[in-house]
Symmetry: C2
Subunit: 633 residues, 2 copies
């Protein structure tokens, strides 16, 4: 029995902070990404996504076709873009965008083989290589993203064509892996969570069975990929099939305890597992999810909600190995962590999930996006140092400014679909109870008939006003960081029970409920088990981690340290600063830079005022130093 | 005109601290390494060095031979071992060892081709590949090490056979690169400095010309290796010939300013350059050496004298990129830095060179060697953390305990030859002046007739007594770290001029000179330009950097910080501790470990006493945490 379910993306109409980002996605990211997919964005790397579907269709019709272009997972960008566009259409009908979507969907439909197979890489050529390289070839991954796009598009427009195409594709996969009992499981998990969406959209139990199958068989034969490799004479990247940690297949998923391997793959897998556990009430599977969750949030996660600390394999490292300067912390992995958290909420209402979801969102996910919506970080270090970052051999992956569209374009469309569907993560319901996991300004409608209007300047102000239409219960997450808070109903203070991080308030039509969080700037300390962070503090405000950039601090943050005995103070909201934000100022010290590399003279330090801005907004003012964690004293 | 010249290794008979290490080399390392080279050391990786020379000889005589075994530079281990053995023989005649050397030399002689070519890899087979891959094949590198061995053996024993073999080899190389004008320069510099030794041992000016040629032509055509690669159809490791930084060939050496690329190759090259500059008085070349020196010691060197901070290419990184936990800091690179420093002293008497030489020696070089002389670090991190070091993908190269002999066995024999010839680095002379660059207990003889007896417990005590035989001048380096010192001649305080870090004292037969350094434990701070070290301090005593190991500090050093406002104190010399050493104790704090990964509660800290031992001796008491740099406060 699910503890709650997400509302559809279309059931939320945003305003405020969320509205601003949804507008950025709608006005900038979706149109820009559309051009990219059509190879019409002049300064971006060639994508080939549209062209691949066109050429696959031509191949199927026996016409001359151009070769496949791009990465083996290129089709997935179509799925992610359509998913983002669908959510956007649901909130903002737009004939032209819908036409563009329909056109791409027609191309996708025409690229589907008679038997339901759909993947342009192995349709344009190499037909004999289909399904021979689950480890690397991403066929199930691409299918998963297209399925997610199809579900979103059906939900937004009611049009079935895309959903039908993907249901046919799901049946193809079902025949292969269930009916014909082909061995194997996805190299890059994703289809598991997508099949759960397909099951809910179509009611087709084959989708549920297939999701369950891929989850249950993973790691039962840890050597599947080795055997598969022996049978084939080709490779995509020469991946080592013996790296079971990287592949999350060292043992059956129910026996796994440590979050390991490629971080995006890991959290996509865990999301599918949690989704299935909630759907089927599988407590053993949920227990595994919980262990993996704790492994992440208690030992392997940055303060920013970033995960996957090492560039080697874009992967989780060992416990407490969380370097700031060489962090990988991929934007997509933080997005995946939000997925995982949201599915955990379907198993257990616990404020911790929402706390992590907003940490990942307000910090790593948003840091991935330039304020203009046209440039993106894949890698989100917690320290950036011109001259070292991007240059030193160990820091090549950590850039100091966001580049444009990459050849491997996973993060920008992933961020676009997440933001345009943020209502799903912000709100849920069960019976007559509506859940507010995130403070997302705007209007939300629930299938139980309740409507909420949420007004707030969160994350820069901590008063949240709900206006209720309908009767039932309102469950609002109170962040664990807020020791004190005030709840008012219709202007009167009330003291509802706080149960696992949620306050539950009886609501009647016309009620107003106000939540006032006591959120002041605070210093945060890492466990002394994290070698990179001993003796340091970070400065946070609300859900946002702040950072110190050179541009606000005389061009140098390396010589700064914090005086944590003095409270930091908050600036007024400044709409001219970084698209609108509030600065923090803290007391601290600046040390004189020694000319010699080592000296037995302690560097002279003098008191100074330090300025911090949200980590989400760093790198928007040219190349300069950035640090999240500063030394104390 | 040289400012001074090294004394021969045999002119120094060690006692005290140096004597202890020379004994370790003589009693343990040389015999152990001999067994390794003969594949008779049971637990070591197979070496094949003896076998390769035997098989090359057989091939030349038309007999059946086994294939070549090992790395392409395997022959160099013979050169390094013979060099170490030669120095040891000079100080400690040993018939059996001399017989073993002679036997190996006969094998080497028999492996030399008629035309003087000598490299078992391309003699046993692949004769047609000779000289076709200077980038990777290490023929000139192996020749260099064998030349160094030959010079040392001639010097120690007066026997010419090995020297004649290598002079014939030098003539072969001379014909190829000078007479026949073959293009190219060494992929791994080493022969340049070896040819300078050959020139001094044989007086053969072809050796000098050849050294000069390789130095002068390096980088004049930066694309030499690319052209070479196009002409060949084989590779050793698939090295990228376009990586000019790695290869130190982006521009002519006289135009280079930043120490770059593979650290051992770099300092071997710079050593050859400095040697040539001193020999020929080439001021432009010396200016380049000085720039490169400053690049290293002012911006790219660990406090331990370790260089080459990144595992990627075992190379120098960019300025100030000096991470403690992922440091590469190869033992051989620190040895090479000592070579470079000693040759700089031949150009310019400046205490800085000796300061760096002893820093590298007493810290990184000695840290490379287990106290039993049988296990070795190649990589010398400044922080070791069981659970992360050796395990995390970014820390795989940093081990917490010393392993035995490696397949790539460069460091152990390199340390052996350095230690057994330490007198060369400790003492020098020019005219009637004798130089003491290092405080090395024992007896030194100079060609000017002066003899010195040096008595000291340095580096654990800072009184150094010299007893003089002969007349002239004594020049003693005063470390820059010692602000105060006392000099006594025949019991009376004197105040000789301190000129560039050396005090010059007139000496007559029978004089005693005492140098008392004011060396107390001191905290050292890095420039705030080093991101990894901001807000931290290290604890040093004399030339030794100390470190904090878990075994002395309740099993955990991560939660420790230093109170640098209180002086550290020195324990008595304890001969039972780590083979004999002095502990330091400092005041500081221990923080309570938080159970949560991040918390806004500052961790409680309580005052405590911290114990430190010399970094050179870390990792000798099992696996445990180690940190050189601690936070302050």
């Amino acid at each position: 029995m699910k503890t709650m379910q997400q509302i559809p993306a279309k059931a939320y109409h945003s305003s405020g902070f969320m509205g601003k980002y949804q507008e950025l996605v709608r006005r900038e990211m979706i149109p820009y990404q559309y051009k990219v997919l059509r190879d019409e964005a002049g300064n971006a790397e060639k994508s080939g996504v549209f062209a691949n579907f066109i050429n696959a269709g031509k191949t199927l019709r026996g016409e001359n076709a151009e070769p496949f272009y791009g990465m083996v997972f290129q089709d997935s960008d179509a799925g992610k873009w359509l998913e983002a566009a669908a959510y956007s259409l649901a909130a903002h009908p737009d004939e032209q965008l819908e036409r563009e979507c329909d056109e791409l969907i027609s191309l996708i439909a025409a690229a589907q083989d008679e038997d339901g197979y759909l993947d342009t890489r192995f349709t344009i050529s190499d037909r004999d290589k289909r399904w021979t390289n689950l480890l690397e070839a991403h066929e199930l991954y691409c299918a998963g993203h297209l399925m997610e796009g199809a579900c979103a598009y059906f939900d937004a427009t009611g049009k079935r064509e895309f959903l039908d195409v993907m249901e046919k594709n799901a049946e193809h996969i079902y025949r292969r892996f269930i009916v014909e009992k082909a061995e194997g499981y996805p190299g890059h998990p994703e289809i598991e969570l997508a099949l759960m969406k397909m099951y809910r959209a179509t009611g087709n139990r084959h989708c549920l069975e297939l999701a369950e199958h891929f989850i249950n068989c993973r790691g039962v034969d840890p050597c599947y990929y080795e055997k598969e490799k022996e049978k084939r004479d080709w490779t995509v990247w020469g991946n080592n099939p013996v790296d079971h940690d990287y592949q999350q297949n060292g043992k059956p998923v129910r026996e796994q305890s440590d979050a390991m391997g490629h971080a995006v793959r890991a959290v996509y897998l865990y999301t599918g597992m949690a989704d299935l556990a909630a759907e089927t009430g599988d407590s053993e599977l949920f227990a595994a999810c919980r262990r993996l969750w704790e492994s992440i949030v208690n030992r392997r996660m940055y303060i920013t909600g970033g995960i996957g600390s090492t560039v080697h394999g874009e992967a989780f490292s060992v416990d407490y190995d969380l370097p700031s300067d060489t962090a990988y912390s991929e934007t997509c992995a933080a997005i995946g962590l939000m997925f995982f958290a949201s599915r955990m909420l379907e198993n257990e209402i616990n404020g911790e999930y929402g706390d992590i979801m907003e940490t990942a969102f307000y910090n790593t996910v948003l840091a991935g996006i330039q304020l203009d919506g046209k440039r993106f970080f894949y890698v989100n270090p917690l320290e950036a140092l011109p001259g070292i970052s991007g240059v030193s051999p160990t820091h090549r992956h950590t850039l100091t400014t966001r580049p444009g569209w990459y050849a491997c374009a996973c993060c920008p469309p992933n961020a676009a679909r997440l933001i345009s569907s943020i209502g799903q993560y912000a709100y849920g319901e069960k019976g007559d109870t509506v859940f507010c996991h995130l403070y997302a300004a705007g209007d939300a409608e629930f299938s139980n008939g309740i409507r909420l209007r949420c007004e707030t300047e969160y994350p820069y102000d901590f008063t949240v006003n709900y206006t209720v239409s309908g009767n039932g219960r309102l469950a609002v997450r109170i962040p664990a960081r807020c020791g004190k808070y005030v709840i008012r109903k219709n202007g009167n203070n009330i003291s509802p029970e706080n149960k696992s991080g949620y306050v539950y308030i009886e609501i009647s039509d016309g009620d107003t409920v106000t939540v006032e969080l006591n959120d002041a700037p605070r210093f945060v300390y890492a466990s002394e088990k994290v070698p990179a962070l001993t003796g340091k503090a970070a400065l946070c405000f609300g859900p946002m981690v702040y950072c110190f950039e050179g541009v606000d601090n005389e061009g140098d943050v390396l010589s700064l340290s914090l005086d944590t005995s003095e409270n930091a103070s908050v600036g007024e909201y400044d709409k001219t600063l970084l698209g609108g934000t509030r600065k923090l100022t803290a007391k601290g010290f600046r040390r004189e830079k020694q000319s010699s590399l080592y000296s037995s003279e302690a560097p002279k330090k003098s008191p100074c005022e330090l300025t911090a801005v949200p980590y989400a907004l760093w790198g928007n003012r040219g190349e300069n130093q950035m640090r999240v964690w500063l030394n104390i004293g």
